[in-house]
């Protein structure tokens, strides 16, 4: 029973913070609310006996992705909100309707199917050791692929975000025309 | 190699750490309220007013130069209405009110610099905190007035110079006065003699 209550508390918390993350005006607030939602999800994973995933979620989502999002917001000056600018896109009503429809479409089969009432088996805690062994045997190929993907993503992100040479430095015709004065010219300029 | 400097530094600090327990000479600080270092002679904090003898004989003549010159404008002077004779016997005003707001005073010492009467000098007290930050930090004439002996104690060489000069002035003034008296007397004698002569001539 306490498990049940805590689930509802955290579920409501996750939904509230997620809604806040999607609704708040200031993008930094959105990012912080999203971090809170991710942390709440980690707790729910923990309740589902997936402690390894729960901690990985905390480590990666709260510790890394939220920080990345915040950096992106700050680097794109997202936190300077102009008063006139509209928050939502012009077709937000249509979008919202589609979202509600999507929720409805997923919820209907959940309600109608029988597995919804299923109760969890007694004890299926996955020890970390088992996860490690599985990763090194059955899931070795995905693991290696993942390592490759992360390396590629790391290098790719660094290359994309690398500062290109300023456009004015390349294409500004004035800067091309203006040439360095020679020593003679400088001397001539100085002498009366 | 990287780290050798850090190890050297660590050894040095460790030596300081243990050394401070072994030898007292290492400890350079003073336990303040119980032990106090004598301030340096030229140290200065807030101004003071010097008087000779008793409070009635302030050197200050309320001339207002310090009030004018004070960059922080923390001095307020009101002249007295009666004149008193100073150490040279001249008749001078004395301040009726002499206030310094030491919350504003910045201890620059310009007032002491410009004072032609050697009256305003710089004090060395530094424990100036009070319970009241307005009236407690506004020092009146009574708080500022200090005996010449006190001034001698804190600035011995300055005070000695000033006293020597003042004694010299006094001596000169007395000599001058004496000379003037003598001249007057001589003139009186002369004039009396002359008048006597005239009397004789007339007779």
């Amino acid at each position: 029973m306490p498990n049940n209550i805590s689930f509802y508390i955290f579920a409501v918390g996750v939904l509230a913070t997620a809604t806040a993350a999607m609704r708040l005006r200031n993008p930094v607030h959105c990012a912080l609310a999203a971090a809170a939602a991710f942390a709440g999800l980690a707790v729910i994973y923990f309740q589902l006996d997936a402690e390894f995933i729960s901690f990985a979620q905390l480590l990666i989502y709260v510790g890394a992705i939220s920080i990345l999002v915040i950096f992106a917001v700050l680097l794109t000056r997202g936190s300077d909100i102009q008063p006139g600018v509209e928050l939502a896109s012009p077709h937000w009503l249509t979008g919202l309707a589609i979202a509600v429809l999507v929720a409805f479409v997923i919820a209907v089969p959940v309600c109608s199917s029988s597995f919804g009432e299923k109760i969890a088996p007694k004890m299926t805690v996955a020890p970390v050791k088992l996860i490690g062994e599985e990763l090194m045997t059955r899931y070795l190929f995905p693991l290696e692929t993942m390592g490759l993907l992360l390396t590629v993503a790391l290098i790719g992100a660094a290359v994309i975000a690398l500062r290109e040479p300023e456009e004015s430095e390349i294409r500004n015709p004035k800067s091309e025309i203006r040439k360095q004065p020679t020593t003679e010219e400088l001397v001539a300029e100085v002498q009366p | 190699m990287l780290g050798s400097g850090i190890i050297k530094g660590m050894v040095e600090t460790a030596r300081n750490f243990f050394g401070s327990y072994v030898s007292r000479e290492r400890l350079t600080t003073v336990q303040y309220p119980e032990q106090q270092l004598a301030p340096h002679e030229n140290a200065r904090t807030i101004p003071l007013l010097v008087y000779d003898g008793d409070m009635e004989h302030l050197r200050c003549t309320a001339c207002g130069i310090c009030e004018m010159e004070c960059p922080a404008q923390c001095i307020y002077i009101v002249k007295d209405t009666v004149k008193k004779s100073d150490y040279l016997g001249r008749m001078q005003f004395q301040p009726r009110v002499f206030d310094i707001d030491i919350s504003v005073c910045m201890a620059c010492g310009i007032c002491a610099e410009v004072c032609p009467f050697d009256s305003i000098m710089m004090d060395q007290v530094f424990a100036l905190s009070t319970q009241n930050r307005f009236s407690g930090l506004l020092l009146h004439k009574e708080d500022l007035a200090k005996a010449n002996g006190y001034f001698h104690a804190i600035h011995p060489s300055d005070a000695g110079d000033i006293d020597a000069r003042r004694d010299e002035d006094k001596r000169k003034a007395e000599a001058k006065a004496k000379a003037a008296v003598a001249a007057k007397a001589a003139a009186a004698i002369k004039s009396s003699e002359a008048s006597a002569k005239q009397v004789e001539v007339a007779a």
């Binding site: 999203a34 990666i60 999002v69 896109s89 919202l96 996955a126 994309i160 | -």
Partner: protein, 103 residues
């Protein structure tokens, strides 16, 4: 113990919230956060089905979520780098202003 359907409803709502954010917000960064929510909703489903499933001994759901989290991290890094690069070029992250391919 909470029945499975509760977890599924939570995941559905989370997915819908993320989806609504993606289709309604203008700021590209927030849209990316919305996509993260949708991914998380899927992760929650994986974990819940694994926990309530029969194959408790094999950590299949956990494995799927682990790879999903790794992909999400890569996606966030690349996506945000793209947003920053686009911002440098266009000086905006408002999505409806980024409507030309030529730049």
């Amino acid at each position: 113990m909470t029945p499975l359907s509760q977890y599924l409803f939570l995941s559905t709502l989370l997915f819908a919230i993320g989806f609504a954010g993606v289709v309604t917000r203008r700021n590209a960064v927030i849209v990316l956060v919305g996509i993260e929510f949708m991914l998380n909703a899927a992760n929650l489903n994986f974990i819940a089905f694994w926990r309530y499933g029969v194959s408790g001994a094999a950590p299949t759901g956990i494995m799927a979520v682990m790879f999903s989290i790794a992909i999400a991290a890569a996606e966030a890094a690349v996506g945000l780098a793209l947003i920053i690069a686009v911002y440098r070029h266009r000086k905006t992250t408002q999505l409806e202003k980024l409507d030309t391919l030529k730049g």
